[in-house]
Symmetry: C2
Subunit: 384 residues, 2 copies
């Protein structure tokens, strides 16, 4: 998320000078739903509330607000996207902090010894561009980015991130290395940030040892910085909690209280088939954007987009396909630098090279403002 | 902050079984003030507010809420404890995250190269027990805990943390190494978490290159996890912002909005000399606790406490002394393990050995609940 590049997009006109920033996945698309909900989803926090570092000293994750834990568990039951009954809940300052908490938990020892060499951290390309950065930015002796899981052949311990649906390309994934090597040397972390019914059919409840989720992509409240991990092993959950203790002494209580309210509203609405159903509302929005984008791209042979299979969604009861949070678009000339080409048209995207792929690909956010998305389609049409 | 030890303190009776936890500095003491303020300090956050990662894309610190920056600057002007005019404001998830952001900013390069050897991080003993842990928990190749600044004699670059008033002992401090070596090789970070008029006389506005503050210790809102840095150098502020971007993609907007309200209320109240003056209220509370503790300790020759000079406070206009957030208590028998002795009486404290000092010392929180503090004094009286 290159902060300084994001200067220009607040009030868009169709002026050809306006920069459209589709580089990051700022989930503003759902704002209209929350405006519609009005005061029902407001929270009031008094001046004397939540002074303490602690939320529940009896819980393993002592800074987790009990009502947030309850709403997280309820939402997973309502949606059916994860089996959380046998798991601890660890809350984080966004799932980004939880990624680091997992690395710490799996690679460090309570006695402070470092491993003989850093544990390799891998993911199959194209992989989420933040994994390498988050893994390596402090040059830790505990872990080190190991690149594409498909070509990874180093002996010794490893951690594989499996993002499903995948960021950037929306594909449904499973572990690559465990298939090849068995489970002995490695640990798999499932990043399920996008495994929600507005993005993809829910085909079964996920049952993995470590699963990561985030409010940002679920409800669109990225500013709250709330993520959560479902963790089966008590020791791993304890060490993740330790990481968050040392890194930030817990997680904002205000954000947790608000997230409880928001997740609660989503669960309540999901039991109705009305316009209060967030996932249905979001799914229609995403479907509409994807249809429009496919229409524009389909007008020529310059670009291509991934194709997704039709699946039966247990949540909606309907047959549907993935409407990913990002469009993973390819220029059909393999030598073309697509990010550069789009930048020339004042469209900021993230180059495929950042995801372990090549420069003929870019990742484009599908979650931005409506006027921004329209302008993007106009410019894309003009290129073709 | 050993989370699991903190189980017992919610509803205290004077039962001798009740564990009193004075190990951490949970600032509950100020709760009565915030209750008294009632709805004046409540914040309402609607469901559609602050969805974005961004708060102000035109600001170097792009996730900093403009109203929080304003209230921070106003509070420093009102209190007169820091000259912030020439400084950037970087907000963090508590000042703990800012400590790490500073280390990253001063030791890493934008190109990702690591230094030939880790930069030494030091502080004069007794030093804040979290500095070594925060510096070393990820075994970074960028920096490494170097111990007591007084005995530090390694050549090469270093970072010195100067905490003033000091945690644990409340003393007013300045850099040790710069005095010895000059400023060429090292950088000094001033942690001014306790430089507020309820703890200590404000003798002049601090004018340092990097100054850290936190809402936790200023207002008592530890659950919000909001800290801020005042940073003179643009590059350092940019790199600190980068750290927070990679670590947690910004800082909770809800906490920032609430902190704005709370800091605003404090500034407003400080201009009055009424019971709405938070610092005056807090100062009287702290003074009373210190008087009571000194009375109990003075009854025998078993323990001793630091003595603080009388100084003229520019904020209150009065002569007063430090009433530190922690009592740094010594057992007058140098061989005694004071933490263990107190633990036997069901008082949890933090041993001097954690602060680079010896086991005849402990750090005791002066910021806990009133009933807890009373019970502590009763038990301390019984020991003597």
């Amino acid at each position: 998320m290159p902060a300084r590049e994001n200067g220009a997009i607040t009030n868009l006109s169709s002026s050809s000078d306006t920069l459209i920033n589709l580089d990051h996945g700022d989930p503003i698309v759902f704002e209209s739903f929350w405006k519609k909900m009005g005061e029902k989803c407001s929270v009031v926090i008094s001046g004397s509330q939540s002074l303490s570092y602690f939320a529940n000293t009896k819980n393993l994750c002592w800074f987790l607000e009990p009502e947030l834990e309850e709403e997280i568990r309820r939402l997973h039951r309502v949606v059916g996207n994860a089996a959380a009954e046998d798991h601890y809940v660890v809350v984080g300052t966004g799932s980004t902090q939880l990624v680091q908490a997992v690395l710490f938990a799996l690679c460090s020892s309570a006695s402070g010894e470092t491993p003989p060499e850093p544990v390799s951290v891998v993911a199959a390309a194209p992989y989420y561009s933040c994994y390498p950065e988050v893994t390596d930015f402090l040059s830790s002796k505990l872990y080190k980015w190991g690149g594409d899981a498909q070509s990874f052949d180093k002996k010794g311990p490893y951690i594989e991130f499996v993002t499903s649906p995948n960021n950037p390309d929306g594909s449904i994934r499973e572990s690559i290395i465990v298939k090849k090597r068995g489970e002995e040397e490695g640990k798999v972390v499932h990043d399920l940030a996008y495994y929600w019914p507005h993005y993809t059919p829910i085909t079964s409840p996920a049952r993995f040892d470590i699963m990561l989720f985030t409010v940002s992509k679920c409800t669109g409240h990225a500013g709250s910085r709330i993520g959560w991990a479902l963790v089966k092993d008590k020791y791993v959950a304890t060490r993740m909690t330790k990481f968050i203790e040392v890194n930030t002494i817990g997680v904002s209580k205000e954000s947790q209280l608000r997230a409880s309210k928001i997740l609660g509203a989503i669960s309540d609405g999901s039991l109705q088939s009305s316009s209060n159903n967030f996932f249905e509302y979001g799914r229609l929005l995403m479907e509409e954007r994807w249809e429009k984008l496919r229409q524009v791209v389909g007008r020529s042979n310059i670009f291509s987009l991934p194709k997704y299979p039709q699946e039966h969604c247990l949540f909606t009861g309907k047959l549907s396909e993935t409407h990913a949070a990002f469009a993973w678009m390819k220029h059909n000339m393999a030598t073309e630098d697509l990010e550069k080409l789009l930048r020339g048209k004042k469209i900021l995207s993230r180059s495929g090279s950042r995801f372990g792929s090549d420069q003929s690909y870019v990742r484009l956010s599908m979650l931005g403002r409506e006027d921004e998305f329209k302008l993007f389609l106009e410019r894309l049409t003009a290129i073709q």
